[in-house]
Every structure is written in structure tokens, then in C-alpha cells.
Homo-oligomer: 742 residues x 2
């Protein structure tokens, strides 16, 4: 088998199935059982016969166009138009209903008005159809009545054991040579390639086809899944995981039906097939109200960021970038690092490219002396032998080819960016051919920039046809390379392990039950610390006291200075109402603090047993904060940051989705901006990072074991430089409203 | 005169001179003398006759193409080819030299090899030519020999009082009807419009023409200025300031020859003509070493950010964005605020647009009940009456026109974004026409998105021809609107005033002289504080002492606790060598601190007079830091931030170019992330912001009055909540190496 290193970045596609991409990485154990379950949607994507229910003879209607596309696309099976009002459509015999078709039907494309959909789907069931694609709109997306109709259709689909795509979609495509199914109603025909695309938006369908064509991007399969009544994006991921023709998966997603399942599938699949996603509807969640630290900090997009960070799914912000990244992934090797060499005939654009590369975290190392020497032997002396290699304006095919032949095997670089702005004296097609010949056989990522060349012009097409993506602006290349290098780093990062610790979950269950039985919405004080301790996280010594006598004798026993806190879930912000007293140095101070708090609680809730928690005041160490908040899209997020102003003013925190592995815990600690304060700043010793990592992983385990909490704050978690001295001082668990949907 | 509010966003260009844009804002006083000096480059841009020196008959050469372009572009004057080896070129009589031309010559375009340039320019001088544009390359950009030749050519230009553009450039354009000068050698012809463009890169020339054409962007003038031996970007700004045909200025700049002059011109000109700039070479300065806080913090791009913030120059990162913004500015009114209404026939793209708008700081307010009612009366019930207004997939021209006619006069919105993804059932040209008709007469910024439509297709062109910019992706619209709203905010912001305070500059001069005479590179301790005090910034009481007896008696007099610091410029990082002692509480502690410091200094430099500074220890207040660093491109930058970890770890600082006005000082204080700690956090009182503002403005004045400093740190400046109690505790001035060029 060819290894990645040997993979060439030039391929002239010989057969429709040949592609240059190799799997990003083989699973650690080839024979290990995959967690991705095979899911056969062959009835939909590989039908031997298709009925078009609602086919029409009228041009510029969907019912006509979809039939036309099936035929024009040379579908390898039989097509049956269904329309009770026509005998022949598009020169093909038509049938009044699917039940009248004499042959077996695998797939039905449904384009009838919404009120007829249930009836025709029922007929499909009776006929033994395996899959239906419901193009028709007016269902869930159109209000209550539509939602009801959609449920009815789904029930029929389930009753007959069929599978359904849609309703409210743009159709499906499978370009496999034995199938050739174009079941869309667009005007643009997808060509064969190694990219599978799932779009939640039907309206984007045609736009996707047009942009793919311009990018010379070929599809293995395409599905517009519309309202996702039955088949979801997750189902397609599982299906494509086992499709040999699919090597890259692109997704346009507005929401995740089941984010936990998506995380599970994507984390695995990303190892072998890169997944690139535009997730829209990002900002809609911004308004979520939150009552805890962790919740308030989990603003816009942190769930998404955490999700992508951990699953290796390549996130892009725009449809344009989706195609830019896909073009590179589809034809070029993934760069092994961030080092980029630029070869150009134009100074200005090369400076723009350098700027853009550097500001996207890439590097442009200078030429080695050895390479310089080789280049000098082949190029005219007025060339600027540096990075960018400026071949100057007169540079033609010869200069580009000579330079690239040398650069393609320079180990100092991971990617090459040829830039060309055509002067009138040089033929762009010849330069394209020279670039193609120059990089042939190399194993670096080659992304070219042709500025001032009209798209679709011959010069550009020579490159595209040879599997060399071309961009019009250097910025797009920098953004694309940044994403590819990010993905490569993810692939190379150790996978991390998720320890399952011995914990006392029975105790936690008991505490939750007790709180619920009392109608509490929160667990705070001693009980909150008990939960933390039950999961093996060290807790600062604490003691409860419920009378002046007790508290004073306890204080004398513990020694001073002390911290006293109200021990009640009734009061949300203890500090604000004087429910926390620090640095108590005498028995008198302890007594007066106790009495003052007792009064305050009396003001808030008279019917409650009053008690306080007494702790030794901890000096030294760094105050950190951990927590959990519930993201509406990605589920529970674990948070980490430094305490006080760092969290409250600077919002300097990191988030990850559950579960948190050791590698993830370490990265989330190291990724905050204030990390130097933990690593040892101005002579202070570094804190015990293992204790913090263990804390985060155990918190993640609490979240995993109990879905009773909507938010958790562990604040402060004092990180000490001395082993065994880091501990939690306070914690707070918000209980989920059991009426809420999970 | 039409005011902006009445300006329509639709214009069918009637004459070449008619444009929709109105000056962004009239100067506060119309009659006030502008600081921009008129600069006539008419000899270059409005010649009555042009000699093409180095004209050629050979196709695909620059000497042929440039002649061809002059004729093809219908230049309104006479063209004289000059070539000693030809009698006729391009059917026009040729002359051996410019001196042989019988008529007067205003402008010479020079395309001969570099070694002949000096000779032909000399002949131009003798001939009485007013301006030369040297296209030829191989000068400064090609090393020492070329630099020398360029100097020689420049000397000749100066000798004869001519002006020169280039060398090493793409040529110039003036589309004025009476002139029609296309003096470039590109293949693409610029059309007439209200945009002037200056490019420092010749190679970008053709690319600029192609992209402008695709964006339907017309030029008033264009100049590729190459090596800027004589005429710079600043000269062109001054020239275009007085050109009635130029309403918008675009710049591609790699470096500023004279940034202070650019700041002066741009700040003024931006009030009436928006300037949009791509500044490349941003990251090249990243490696600058720095020895002070302020210097180390002034990393990448802060100078540029400050510069754009203060001059109102609209910065864009890419050439693509330059055209996106220019298209909007050229044809559409500047939005009065950030509120955007989306009208769409496709859900997915509208969600993408919303995401992108929100994440670029724009707003998408919901429809008012009144507007909803009006819309309901005109639109089918299945429309989703919200923002985005989803007209659903079937929407055609009628729906778009009805909706836009209502929305264009809704005061809730500043901009409208129509989004259209063409389904097969709808003709895009008709929708384009409907959008055009729908928004006619409105005063909002209208930027349309047509997805999945090939560029140059009829549907898109209808809009562009009507002055309605069209974008292929919603992201480009969001980025464009963000820039326009930023510019509008700059226009609306009070201009601020720069106070000139009464200060004791003579004293500062004396301190500098003394330090220089001693060969010091720094001024620290008491002398540094004296400089600060001389400029009217309050300084914490400090006293020098040079013996144990003195220091102890001084300490007793001042009272405890005290801070002691070594008073020497020899030691850079006082804290690191034990040169700072805080919280000294007894005479004994003072004595032992003094003795310990004396020993340390002895270790560092034995020949020096030893002294310490003694200060009362200040409690309370917030530690801030001010400073100045020298940006290689933008000159001195003033810095502000909070002290300690906020500066050192969080790098939470703001920068501005000099001079700093009151408005600017306030904005730089409020723009740091930790500003809440100054504004009053968790019950603490807000600090005296006026004292900080005054400190920053006075620091700016020091920098303005003395160019002796390369870096300044005022650290800490204690900001107190009590009036009159804020003060500087320590300061440090680095002296510029007078060998350095300014």
C-alpha cells in the first residue's frame, strides 16, 4: 500500500473511482470493532428502479426537472413516472399510481402537494418500496398543521419498514458508475468525485452544485435532508463511513438532532475521513439566560468550539470556505506541518500571502543554503532568492517549473503556494502546465493563487483538471491551510484516555434525592462539598455548626484564621448578602459573624434550620474555577479558568464537551490566557497540574454519571504547588428542572 | 443640495460624472482653510499630449500594449510614439527621440530598459515635459546598482522641475471625459466611476482592473506608484482631495514613506471622502525587539489598528474585501447604524447571513407590528413574517418587490439585505428587476446576495448596472456592513480636542541634556519623575537619600510604611536584583534595605554615586500603566493598561498614535477588557477617569515636544477614586540612539 509520504499531489483521474486521497489515518487497530454501526441506506442511494410520484410534462416545474435529471444523468436503473393525469411524460410511459407499476420499485421520489403525500407514501409501503425521498414542502417547517402531517407520513414510513429522506428537501445524488442517480431538481449536474455532501437546507442545494462545479469538486453522494423526519445527518455519516467511494464528508448543518451520537460517530470517523462542517444558527443561542458563573461564561459558540476541538471535525464559517477546504482535501495531501513556501511572479500579492499566512498561524521559513544553491543554478540572477521566492514579473513557465521541481523535495516545507498574476507577455495556460509538471511526484500540499484571471479561464482549468486547487486570493489559501494544519495536528495528537475512577455514586444519589425531596433547586455548602469529595476530589476541611456555642468551640479547636459561610441553598449570592466572612482571627469575631449571619437568614427565610460551614482559611496557591453548563446543542460543557477577576472581568476560560480525557484536561488548563500564573510566574512555583487535571476529569465523571444537574460551580478550587494540598473550598450544584427535556 | 437622507440608493448613471455618493460629511466649517494643501499633478493626469518612449510594434510587449491602450481608450490628446528604430508604430508616425517631436509634450510614458531611462528623462526635461511615468523596472527594488540609477533619474526630474510616477510601475489612468487617459499596459479597460485607486504594487495592476470590472466598479483615476521615487501616495491623496470626480479613494500600500503626513492628510480627508486601505507587509515588523513593557506589548499591528481607529481610514485585510467595500461605498449610502433587515427566498442562506451579521457586531431587529401588518396585506400567508423575512422558495419578483417597497421606509432598519437563491421556477433577472424597483427611492444601504448564480450572469448584472452591489456569499455582506458602520461611527464621533498644556519643557530639556552628557541610555528614578511632574502629571511624594543616616531620618519624618528603590539608570530590572523594597515598617527595616541595596549596586557598578528614592507606600487605588513605544511605520504610540498581571500576562492594553485627544484618551481607557475594574467593580468606587485622561494627553504632549525618547514607561500610575489623589509612582525614559534615523 502507498503511504501518505509517497502519495503524489498530482493525479489525472483515470477512472471515476481513482482518487489521490488516502485515508487520513488508519484506526489504531485495524481489526478493532468500530463504534460506528453499519447503516444501510442502499434502498435509497443504490436503487435499481425509481418512481417519480408527481412527475410532470410542464417545463420549469420540479416534477419535470427531477425526471429529466434522472434520465439526463443516465440513471442505470428504470425510471417510472407516476401521475394520474398523464399517460406519458418525457417520452416515458406514466402510471396513475405506484401500485400500477408492473415492476418492483426500490425508491420513490415524491413531489405531490403536501396533502397527498401521506396517501402516496402509504401506496409506496404497499408496493414494497424501500425508500422514499419527499421533496414536497409545507410540513414541520410550516407550523402545527404541517408538523401533524409530517408525523402521519413518518408513521406510515415506519409501519412499512421503509426509510425516508425529507420532507422539504432538494433530493439526493449518487454518482457511482453502476448507479448514476441524480435525484435532484437542479440545473447543475454534479460530477463524480470522492466527496459526500449532506445539506440541511434545501435552498442551498443548487448553490452547492454551482460552487462545486466551479471548484472542480466531484461528489460521491449528496443528500438534502430537509426536515430530517426519519434519516438524519448521523445516519448518513454512518452510511458513508462504509462507502469506499467517499473519502471526505461535507456538512451544512443548522442543528444536531442528537449531539451525543454525533460526537461519538464524528470522533471516530474523523480519524479516517475528514469531515468539514458549516454549522449555521450559531448566534441564535446567544440569548440563553444563565444564573451561574459557568453558565454566564458559556456564551456564543463555546460549545461548538469545544465540540470541534475534541472531535477533529473541521469547522468552517462560510459555504465559500467549505469549498475552499474541500478542494484541497479532495485532491491534495494533508500538510504535515505549518511551513509554507511561496513562489511568485508578483511581489505585492506575495506580501499579501505572507501576511495572511502568518496571521493564520502558519510559517514561512527562509530558504536553506542548499536549496538556494540549487535554485541559483537554474534561475536567472535577478530572482529574489528568499521566501517568497520572487521570480519577478518576466517569469514564465520555465522559471516556475524549475523552481517548483527543486522546492517540491525540500524537507523544510510542508506546503507550496505558487502565485501568478499574468502579465500580457506570458500565457497563463503554459504557466499552469509548468506548475503541474513542476510539482508532479511531490508530497507537499500545493495550493495555487492566480490573481486577475477570470474563473473558468483556460489557465486555471489546466490546474484544476490536474487536481491542483486554484484560489483567486491568497487569503483563501491561508484560511484553507490553517484548517488543514489544525486537522493534521488533531490527527497527530495523542487520543487521550478517559479514566473511570472508583467513586461513591450511591452517596451522591442520596444527597440529590434528599435535596429533591425538600424541593431544593440547588445543593450548596456541606452537601455540595460532600458530592465533590464522593468523587475523589480533595475538599478543604470544613465543619458545620448550628449554634453559637458549637461554632466558637469548633473555631478554637481548628485554630485561626477561619472562613465562615452560610450553609443554605436559599441564598444564591452569599457574598452579596454578607453570607461569607473571611479572615476571622478571634473567638469574638467568629461569634459576631455567626450572629450576623443568623439574622440575615432570618430575613430571607424564617422557617429554616440555620447552620454555617467553618473552614481554615487557605493561604497561598492559585484560585481556580471549574464548572459545568448545559449547551442546548452540544450537551454538558466542562469549564476551567482562574478565579476572581480572571473569570468575572477577563472571561478567560476554556470549555470542553463531555467526557474530558486526560489529554483534553491538560489542553483546557494550558489554553487559558492566564496559564502562566499556574505554570510559575515571576519566581512562584508551578501548581500541581495533575491535581487540576484529575479534578476536571472527575467533574466530567460526575456529569456523566448524573444527568440531574443543569449547572455546576466548583469555586474556588485552590491549586497548590505542593502535591496533595490542592483542594476545593466551595461548590454549588443546580438541579435540573425534571420538567425540562433532556 | 440633496442631503444624505434624501440620497436614493438607486442610480442609473446618466452622465459619466453623475454619481450617487454625497460627501460623507462636510467639514465643520465649510470656509475653514483645509490642512490639505492643493497639489497639482495635472501635468501627469490631464496631459494634452503623451509621448510613449519605448513604443513598440511587437504584439504582447509592454511598449505596444500601452500605445494600444491609449488609442483604444480614446485619449483626447495627441499620442507620439518614440523609438529610434521605427518610423511608424501602430499606424502612427514615430520619432527617434522626444526632442524630435514638433509639438509640445505634457506627459512621457517611459518603457525603455533601465540603462536608457536617465538619458530619455533628461531629454524630456529639455523638451519641457511636465510629467514622466517610468514603467521600466530594475531600480531600487533590484539592489544597489538600481538604487543608484533611480537616484540619478530623480535628480534629473528635480533639475527640470518635472514630476515622476514610478519607476517600476503599471502606469496611470484618468477616465475624465475630456481626458480619457489609459496609460497602463493591461488587457482590461477601467470604466468611468467615482473611485480613485493607488497601488504600490505594479503586479496587482491587472488583477485590480479585472476585479473592478467584475464588481462593476468605475474609476475616476488610477495610479500604480511603484518605487515612489518622487510622487507618493500622500501626493495623490492631496491631489484627489481636490478632484470633484473622486468620491472614494482605495489604496494598496506596502509602506508609508511619511506616516505623520499621511495621518494628517487622512484624518482630514476621511471626513468627506472615504479612504479604504489594504496595508500589506503587516507581519514583517513582528520581530522587532523591545526592552520596555510598552515596547514588548506593541506587537503585530497595534500601530496600524491605532492609526485606522484615529484617522477614520477604513482598513480591510484583503483585496477581495477592498472591492466588496468599495462597491458598497461607490453606489450606496453609508448606513446610519447597525440594524439590518434580511428578505430571502431561502431559509439556510438567511441563517448564515444572520450568523455572520451578528458575529460582525451588526443587529437584526425583529419586525414592528406595524410593518408586519403592512407586509401581511401584500404577501401570501405562508411567508415567515420575522427577520429574516422568509418569502419561501416559491417567492418571485412580485413578493420581493412588495416586501422591499414596505421595508425600504421602515425606520427600524439601516440596511436591507435581499437574499435570493434561484429555484428553476423563477427567472433571476425578473427578481433582480423587482429588487431594483422595490428599493428605488429608499435611503438605506442595500446589499444583495445571489447564491448559486454564476458571476456575470444576467440576473446579477441587472442589479449591478442599477448601482446595487451583489455578493455571492452572505459573509462578504456582513464584513462590508461592519466596515461601513465602523466608518459611520467614526464620522459621528466627536472629533475631540488636543489640549496644549502649560508645561515646563525647559526643565525636561535640561534633564535630557544631563543624561546625555553622562552617556546614559535611560532616565529613571527621581529624574524620570521630575520629567513627569514638569508636564503637570501628579507624582507620588518621593525623596532622595544618599546615606544611611539621611535615609533613616527621612523615613522617620515621612512615617511608615515606605517603599525604597535604587536610584540608578545602570540597573534595568530593579525588582529582579533586589533594587525595590516595599512595606518597610521600621527604621531598622529601612536601614537594612538601604545597606543591602548599596551592596548590590557595588556589585553592578563600583564607580557610581549611590542613592535611593524613598516614597510613602500608597494603599488602595488601581495600578495602571502608561507608556510610549516607537512603531516603525506609524511613529510613536501611546499605550494604556492595568498594571501587574493584566499587562504582563493578559496583555490587556490599548494603543493610539500621537497626538492623543480627550476623546481618544477616553476611548483608550474604556477599550481595555479590564476596564470594569476602573469603572467600579463589586462595590468599589470608580476611579478618577479625568486624571487618567489628563495623564495620557500630557504623556502624548511630552512625546510631541521631545523626539529624544524611543520608549517611555510610566508604571505604576495609581488611579484613585478620590479627585487629586491619582499619581505616578515610577517612570522610565529610554533615550533614542541619535544615530538612529527618525
Amino acid at each position: 500500500m502507498k503511504t501518505r509520504k509517497q502519495a503524489s499531489n498530482i493525479s489525472v483521474k483515470k477512472s471515476a473511482r481513482s482518487t489521490t486521497r488516502k485515508p487520513a489515518r488508519k484506526s489504531a487497530k485495524g481489526g478493532a470493532k468500530s463504534i460506528i454501526e453499519p447503516c444501510s441506506l442502499d434502498g435509497i442511494f443504490r436503487p435499481r428502479s425509481v418512481a417519480v410520484i408527481g412527475a410532470s410534462s410542464t417545463k420549469l416545474t420540479i416534477g419535470r426537472q427531477i425526471l429529466h435529471n434522472l434520465i439526463q444523468g443516465e440513471f442505470q436503473g428504470k425510471v417510472f413516472p407516476v401521475n394520474p393525469h398523464a399517460d406519458v411524460i418525457h417520452s416515458i410511459k406514466a402510471y396513475p399510481s405506484v401500485l400500477d407499476i408492473p415492476d418492483p420499485v426500490d425508491l420513490a421520489l415524491v413531489i405531490v402537494p403536501r396533502e397527498h403525500v401521506a396517501k402516496v407514501v402509504e401506496e409506496c409501503g404497499k408496493k414494497g418500496v424501500k425508500g422514499v425521498v419527499v421533496i414536497s414542502a409545507g410540513f414541520k417547517e410550516a407550523g402545527a398543521k404541517g408538523r401533524e402531517m409530517e408525523q402521519k407520513v413518518l408513521a406510515i414510513v415506519r409501519k412499512y419498514g421503509m426509510r425516508m429522506i425529507g420532507p422539504n428537501c432538494f433530493g439526493i445524488v449518487n454518482t457511482e458508475p453502476g448507479v448514476n442517480l441524480n435525484g435532484t431538481f437542479g440545473k447543475t449536474f454534479p460530477k463524480r468525485g470522492n466527496v459526500a455532501f449532506v445539506s440541511q437546507s434545501g435552498a442551498l442545494g443548487e448553490a452547492i452544485m454551482v460552487h462545486a462545479q466551479e471548484a472542480h469538486l466531484g461528489f460521491s453522494m449528496f443528500a438534502s435532508i430537509g426536515n430530517k423526519a426519519d434519516i438524519s445527518g448521523n445516519d448518513l455519516l454512518e452510511y458513508w463511513a462504509n462507502d469506499p467511494g467517499t473519502e471526505i464528508i461535507l456538512m451544512y448543518i443548522e442543528n444536531f438532532g442528537n449531539p451525543r451520537r454525533f460526537i461519538k460517530i464524528a470522533r471516530e470517523l474523523s480519524r479516517t475521513k475528514p469531515i468539514v462542517v458549516v454549522k449555521s444558527g450559531r448566534t441564535a443561542q446567544g440569548a440563553k439566560a444563565a444564573s451561574s458563573h459557568t453558565g454566564a461564561l458559556a456564551g456564543l459558540d463555546v460549545g461548538a468550539d469545544a465540540f470541534f476541538e475534541q472531535t477533529g471535525v473541521i469547522r468552517v464559517d462560510t459555504v465559500e470556505q467549505l469549498f475552499d477546504v474541500a478542494s484541497a482535501l479532495s485532491h491534495q495531501p494533508i500538510p504535515k506541518g505549518p511551513r509554507v513556501m511561496i513562489a511568485t511572479n508578483a511581489g505585492g500579492p506575495a506580501i499579501l500571502a505572507t501576511d495572511s499566512l502568518i496571521s493564520h498561524g502558519l510559517e514561512t521559513p527562509q530558504l536553506s543554503d542548499a536549496t538556494k544553491k540549487k535554485l541559483r543554478a537554474k534561475l536567472p540572477p535577478e530572482v529574489n532568492f528568499s521566501n517568497p521566492l520572487d521570480l519577478i514579473a518576466g517569469a514564465g513557465p520555465k522559471e516556475f517549473e524549475s523552481a517548483l521541481k527543486i522546492l517540491k523535495s525540500d524537507r523544510r516545507y510542508d506546503a507550496i503556494v505558487p502565485i501568478f498574476v499574468p502579465p500580457i507577455t506570458v500565457d497563463p495556460s503554459e504557466v499552469s502546465q509548468a506548475i503541474t509538471d513542476g510539482v508532479k511526484g511531490g508530497n507537499k500540499t500545493v495550493l495555487s493563487c492566480f490573481m486577475g484571471v477570470r474563473s473558468g479561464s483556460e489557465g486555471v482549468n489546466v490546474l484544476k483538471e490536474n487536481g491542483l486547487p486554484v484560489y483567486r486570493f491568497p487569503d483563501a489559501i491561508a484560511k484553507t491551510l490553517e484548517r488543514l494544519v489544525w486537522y493534521n495536528n488533531w490527527l497527530e495528537r495523542p487520543r487521550g484516555s478517559i479514566h473511570i475512577h472508583e467513586v461513591n455514586s450511591a452517596k451522591v444519589r442520596k444527597i440529590i434525592k434528599k435535596a429533591e425531596s425538600k424541593g431544593q433547586r440547588e445543593i450548596v455548602g456541606a452537601e455540595a462539598l460532600e458530592i465533590v469529595a464522593a468523587y475523589g476530589i480533595d475538599v478543604a476541611e470544613y465543619h458545620e455548626a448550628a449554634s453559637v456555642t458549637d461554632v466558637v468551640s469548633l473555631a478554637d479547636k481548628l485554630g485561626y484564621p477561619l472562613v465562615m459561610k452560610i450553609n443554605t441553598p436559599r441564598i444564591l449570592h452569599k457574598t452579596d448578602v454578607g453570607g461569607v466572612a473571611v479572615d476571622l482571627r478571634t473567638a469574638d469575631e467568629v461569634r459576631s459573624a455567626y450572629e450576623s449571619m443568623e439574622k440575615k437568614v432570618a430575613r430571607h427565610s424564617s422557617d429554616e434550620d440555620f447552620s454555617v460551614v467553618l473552614q481554615k482559611m487557605i493561604r497561598g496557591g492559585v484560585e481556580t474555577v471549574m464548572g459545568m453548563t448545559m449547551d442546548p446543542t452540544y450537551g454538558p460543557l466542562i469549564m476551567f479558568g482562574l478565579g476572581g477577576v480572571f473569570v468575572e472581568v477577563m472571561k478567560d476560560v476554556s470549555f470542553r464537551v463531555c467526557p474530558v480525557s486526560d489529554v483534553t484536561a491538560e489542553r483546557m488548563i494550558e489554553s487559558i490566557k492566564s496559564y502562566p500564573l499556574l505554570a510559575g510566574f515571576r519566581g512562584s512555583k508551578p501548581v500541581d497540574k495533575q491535581a487540576l487535571m484529575s479534578g476536571l476529569m472527575r467533574l466530567s465523571q460526575i456529569v456523566n454519571d448524573f444527568d440531574d444537574f443543569s449547572e455546576i460551580d466548583i469555586n474556588p478550587f485552590i491549586a497548590s504547588s505542593r502535591k496533595g494540598e490542592s483542594c476545593v473550598v466551595d461548590a454549588r450544584f443546580l438541579l435540573r428542572d425534571k420538567g425540562e427535556t433532556k
